[in-house]
């Protein structure tokens, strides 16, 4: 778990900053209790916090909390599983009404989550399975991420091509993305994977670039590179550029960041499309799902935040240069219509 | 007073390769008696001790202990038979991180009879018994690492005595003790003597020897060169037997020098040491002799800028000389062939040529790039000059014999002209022919510089020097022109006692 989120998605700082600065209208009076008055206390109990993804996630949580007039406490265990479990108890002692558990280990968090539920506190969990029917699971859909990217690949290149695939087994989100790749290969007999490679040696992009160089010289007939993680895609792009093959190969990936946008926008860039979920949106959805529970509504057990497809064409046509532009000009990226009952304030609304 | 010998060795021999270290040594130790073993470095003392204590296998000869044959194959066997050795390095005898009680009983913690569980109460009980028997007043709970050196030494000896030995061997036990600390040790040794332990005491320190010895055995070149047991003991005779007198005075044509190269005035090399004043002249070879530990190396290092003097001035060729580093000393023309070449001289990763050029890289390079041709020519020249036996200048140092290694060390510094050439124990671990070669070379090339040798062995001084200075307790106590040396006076000065005391 530890590695996975750090790996995934270096995303959406611009969005985070922008949303934080926004002014929100005074609270409407027509919200259900307890949100009819400001000052509802919730806690965010984090397992992972360093890295772009987690910064952006936090900013989303903060933005939605502010829009709801929530008093947010952030408890950060910095990858200490035992401490995270203790922090849930700490939150209970603080008298919060709701808790968001962000990542962690099932083994250490399952009991802690149950204690919170027993104390009458509403709980949602993001990206950690606490095996509790009363706790909604907020997740981003890795399968959808891979599916969107691959559908675009088929759309761009037809259904018969030779592919290079970047994959490291044993990393949960990559494994889920891999399932989709396996399905797609089954569905289109014309798609053949001639090379599979990948490494997590850091800096990852550099190591993957070295591998991709070798793969490209062994298999000059590769038309499509599927690199379902932006660090992989970055490495593949470096290799493709270095080999001077950028006009003959297209790269499809997952996740997005400002530097990824710059890489995709380069003239004749091989990086054709990526699919991404906005971590700030995931943060917002986490708070909204919790708010629904507190208001006595049911957000459903699985709250899935849908990804957005971002193509090179989008970026160029709409002149998107960074994550702020992306949120501003690609509304589906800035906001997900998930856990949005009519009374729910939208922190992204202008 | 003298009973039958508890320990007896007959005709012990030992060789390492072709090098015979012990050439038939016979030795007796008596109960309730301290036998002092004297010998210069390389005389074979430590080899003898290691054979008795079971570290080395003996080459030839027999040993007996209390009337029975004694042939230990391991140190443990020797200890079990009743021969216990406390080695020179105190920290070898104790485990610094454990407390005193555990140290005293350490040997009972292992071995076949040892109990599986560590029982602190029993350990302390046993330790107390050991400490009481020796009159040891040390907190048994203290960690050894917190103790003074003397206390550690006591613990090491007490630990050895926990075996109730018949023979106790002490190898230079006072070498790192202060005199007050040494007094405590002597009191302990007196006590053991009364208890009937036969003690073999190895030391260079005349004060120790005068205080303790019932008998003195001198060793030289792998044989016993003298046994002294008539009271009063003939200390000078013992020193004489140890240092030897096989002198070939006719080989030396003594030179006197008028031109002063180095003048030392009031130099004190350690706190509390008496000042040293001396002059060295051009073309002169001067040897400073004295027993181990009298400050010879300290003086050499002071001259070479390794350590700073406490007080005093030096003038080199008319200019004030106070080197702040070895580099400055070399730049001023002062070279040192350090003692213990393995430790201080040989660069193991380098071949002969690279070892020779080491101090003079700057002079052998152009724009910082080493001139390898010049390096090679120099090395070949030095190999030729000193008669270094090797296949080529590219040979590894490890392929050379000790004597040839030492020649390389000397050659390293003779490749350039020195103002003052210092050699500290240059004949250590060197066979006789290499020693003659080096000495001859030193004398032949002596003009144009002052040459200063530090040697423990008197022979080496007499064979090589024009003048001999005697050092004792960190100062110069005597001076002799090497023409008709008053050996009695010289030996008395070396032994550190009043003149002709025993005669």
């Amino acid at each position: 778990m530890n590695i996975t989120r750090r790996l995934l998605g270096k995303v959406a700082l611009g969005l985070a900053g922008a949303t934080m600065l926004m002014q929100f209208p005074a609270l409407a009076a027509d919200k259900p209790a307890p949100f009819d008055k400001p000052g509802v206390k919730i806690a965010l109990v984090r397992y992972l916090s360093t890295g772009d993804f987690f910064q952006a996630y936090l900013s989303g949580v903060e933005a939605q909390s502010k829009a709801l007039g929530i008093d947010l406490r952030v408890l950060d265990s910095r990858q200490d599983a035992a401490l995270q479990s203790d922090m849930v108890d700490q939150a209970i002692a603080l008298g919060v009404q709701g808790i968001i558990i962000q990542h962690g280990l099932t083994e250490s968090m399952k009991d802690a989550a149950q204690r919170a539920v027993d104390a009458g506190i509403k709980v949602v969990a993001f990206d950690v399975n606490v095996e509790n029917p009363k706790i909604p699971q907020v997740e981003q859909s890795d399968r959808d991420l891979a599916r969107l990217a691959l559908e675009q690949a088929v759309k761009d290149n037809g259904d018969s091509w030779k592919a290079g695939y970047v994959y490291v087994a044993g990393i949960a989100p990559l494994d889920r993305r891999n399932e989709t790749w396996v399905d797609v290969k089954k569905k289109y007999a014309g798609i053949s994977e001639v090379a599979m490679f990948g490494t997590l040696d850091n800096p990852i992009a550099n190591s993957v670039a070295n591998q991709a160089r070798s793969v490209l010289s062994a298999h000059p007939d590769i038309k499509v590179m599927f690199a379902p993680y932006d660090e992989f895609a970055k490495g593949v792009k470096i290799a493709v550029d270095e080999a001077g093959l950028n006009k003959g190969i297209k790269i499809y990936s997952a996740d997005i960041s400002t530097s990824d946008i710059a890489a995709m926008r380069e003239p004749d860039s091989a990086w054709a499309a990526t699919a991404a979920t906005n971590p700030a949106v995931v943060g917002q959805v986490s708070v909204r799902a919790l708010a629904q529970l507190l208001a006595g509504e049911d957000p459903g057990h699985n709250v899935v935040v849908p990804p957005t497809l971002i193509t090179q064409k989008d970026l160029i046509d709409k002149d998107i240069k960074n994550m702020e532009d992306l949120s501003a000009k690609l509304p589906q990226f800035a906001h997900a219509d998930v856990a949005m009952p009519a009374w729910m304030p939208n922190p992204n609304a202008k | 007073m003298v009973g039958n010998a508890v320990f007896r060795a007959e005709g012990l021999r030992k060789s390492f390769g072709q090098n015979e270290v012990l050439g038939g040594v016979s030795l007796e130790l008596h109960a309730g008696e301290v036998t002092v073993l004297m010998g210069a470095n390389g005389a074979g003392k430590s080899t003898l001790v290691k054979i008795i204590s079971g570290v080395y296998e003996r080459g030839d000869g027999t040993m007996g202990l209390a009337g029975q044959a004694f042939a230990p194959n391991t140190p443990a066997e020797a200890i079990r038979a009743g021969v216990v050795t406390v080695h020179q390095n105190i920290n070898d005898g104790v485990v610094a991180d454990l407390d005193v009680a555990t140290n005293l009983t350490l040997d009972r913690l292992s071995g076949s009879g040892a109990p599986f569980l560590f029982n602190p109460a029993r350990v302390r009980r046993q330790a107390k018994a050991v400490a009481d028997r020796m009159g040891l007043a040390i907190d048994l709970k203290a960690r050894v690492s917190d103790l003074s050196l003397a206390d550690r030494q006591m613990v090491a000896i007490a630990r050895a005595l926990a075996h109730q030995p018949k023979v106790l061997i002490l190898d230079e036990p006072t070498s790192s003790l202060s005199s007050a600390e040494a007094d405590r040790l002597f009191a302990l040794i007196d006590r053991l003597r009364e208890q009937g332990v036969a003690i073999l005491y190895i030391s260079h320190r005349m004060s120790d020897i005068r205080r303790l010895a019932d008998r003195i055995v001198s060793m030289r070149d792998g044989i016993i060169s003298g046994v002294f047991d008539k009271k009063p003991l003939d200390y000078e005779g013992a020193v004489n037997a140890m240092l030897g007198r096989k002198i070939h005075l006719d080989q030396i044509v003594v030179r006197d020098s008028a031109d002063i190269v180095l003048k030392i005035d009031g130099l004190r090399i350690a706190q509390g040491a008496k000042p040293i004043s001396l002059t060295l002249g051009d073309g002169e070879v001067v040897a400073i002799t004295g027993l181990v530990g009298v400050g010879k190396t300290a003086l050499a290092e002071t001259l070479f800028g390794v350590r700073k003097p406490v007080a005093g001035t030096m003038v080199l060729n008319g200019k004030p000389y106070a080197p702040g580093s070895t580099g400055e000393a070399i730049a001023a023309g002062v070279f040192l062939v350090a003692k213990d070449r393995g430790e201080n001289g040989i660069v193991g990763g380098f071949n002969i040529q690279e070892n020779i050029s080491l101090p003079f890289h700057k002079r052998m390079s152009r724009f910082a790039v080493l001139r390898r041709r010049l390096e090679r020519i120099t090395a070949r020249q030095q190999i030729e000059e000193l008669g270094i036996v090797c296949r080529s200048e590219k040979d590894e140092m490890s392929a050379l014999s000790g004597g040839n290694q030492q020649k390389v060390m000397v050659a390293r510094w003779m490749a350039q002209d020195a103002g003052l050439f210092i050699l500290d124990e240059p004949f250590q671990g060197v066979d006789i022919s290499a020693r003659r070669d080096i000495a001859a070379k030193l004398r032949a090339s002596a003009n144009g510089r002052a040459t200063l040798l530090f040697v423990t062995e008197l022979d080496e001084a007499l064979e090589t020097a024009d003048r001999i200075l005697v050092m004792s307790e960190q100062t110069i106590v005597g001076e002799h022109r090497n023409a008709d040396v008053d050996l009695d006076r010289l030996l008395a000065e070396v032994a550190g006692g009043p003149l002709h005391s025993a005669a």
């Binding site: 700082l13 793969v215 710059a262 994550m323 702020e324 | 580093s325 201080n344």
Partner: protein
């Protein structure tokens, strides 16, 4: 020379050629000028690091901080250009300064504070991994990023800087040799010449083999040791510059993999030509060896963990060559 001597001396080179021959047969497209250049390019970054660490190995030390010096330099280059909006020259100078300063501090800790080399540089490694994240609060640096204070960084990697990673020189075939390969080759020749032919290099070996003897031969041993760490730091920062130029952004990373690969290359270098000591030529061959191995294995679709395994095997074999067979390892 006996057969055994020959085996020790040329064994590793023979192994290298054997490997090339095997891949030439087994992997299509392995033998081509481009492929050769790929290999050099892929080892350029770790190779430069390895050459630097060789300098510290020569004086009997070790530098664990090189990986994090490289990534810190990469972050610094990105910060200077993207946030401070300075040009390529400033970025390069800042990186080199960082390397030199870290080297000085390492040397000072080891020589004057008497901290054992492994511990001092381990501490420095952690320090740098943390330090490189402080200015951006743990974010990677890219054009358009939002700074902790909410402002947007609008500088960009200058073309001149990116050229360090992307420009190619013509060499018989147009656009063949990348700048990083040229940098690697130049630095390799420089450090090789420095260590083998100058009096400074010779004395560094003496310090590494017998410090006391070197001091008694008049060498300022402390200064030599500190210089070795400065060399190592500066080389590491050069490798960081190449990394930044290749990636085109400042990526937070510990650089531990860079460190391990570099150290492996330097240690493999011990075995080359039976040197049994750290040496620049061996290090370069060691880096190349690893590069060829990884290129070949990747071309044959071997997954990443088998590559680590093979790397480990090569290292162990090299160490056996050095220490057991030659019998010169005991110093």
């Amino acid at each position: 020379m006996t057969l055994r001597d020959h085996a020790i001396r040329y064994g590793f080179i023979v192994l290298l050629f054997g490997l090339v021959a095997y891949f030439a047969i087994a992997a299509d497209g392995f033998v081509s000028p481009q492929s050769a250049v790929f290999i050099f390019q892929s080892v350029a970054i770790t190779g430069v690091l390895a050459l630097g660490v060789t300098a510290t190995l020569v004086v009997g030390g070790f530098d664990l901080s090189i990986g994090s010096v490289a990534t810190s330099a990469m972050m610094a280059a990105a910060y200077v250009m993207v946030v401070l909006e300075q040009n390529a020259l400033v970025a390069v100078v800042v990186c080199l300064l960082i390397g030199a300063i870290v080297g000085l501090i390492n040397g000072w800790l080891i020589v004057y504070m008497r901290v054992p080399d492994l511990l001092a540089t381990l501490g420095m490694m952690f320090l740098l991994v943390g330090l490189q994240r402080i200015p951006t609060e743990g974010r990677s640096i890219a054009t358009g990023m939002t700074m902790p204070d909410g402002s947007v960084a609008n500088g960009k990697f200058s073309d001149a800087f990116l050229a360090l990673g992307r420009h190619r020189f013509d060499f018989f075939i147009p656009n063949l040799i990348p700048v990083s390969v040229v940098v690697l080759l130049v630095l390799a020749v420089l450090i090789w010449f420095f260590l083998e032919y100058t009096r400074f290099g010779r004395m560094m070996y003496a310090v590494g083999s017998n410090e006391r003897a070197a001091e008694l031969a008049g060498a300022p041993v402390k200064a030599y040791k500190i210089w070795a760490y400065v060399i190592s730091g500066v080389f590491a920062s050069i490798s960081g510059i190449l990394l930044a130029a290749r990636l085109g952004r400042g990526d937070i990373a510990s650089g531990n993999n860079l460190l391990l690969d570099a150290v492996a290359a330097a240690l493999i270098g011990y075995a080359v030509l039976g040197a049994a000591k750290p040496n620049a030529f061996g290090t370069a061959v060691g880096a190349l060896f690893v590069g060829i191995l990884l290129q070949g294995l990747t071309m044959m679709n071997a997954p990443y963990y088998t590559q680590d395994f093979v790397k480990g095997v090569v290292l162990v074999v090299a160490l056996v060559f050095t220490f057991a067979l030659s019998g010169r390892g005991r110093r």
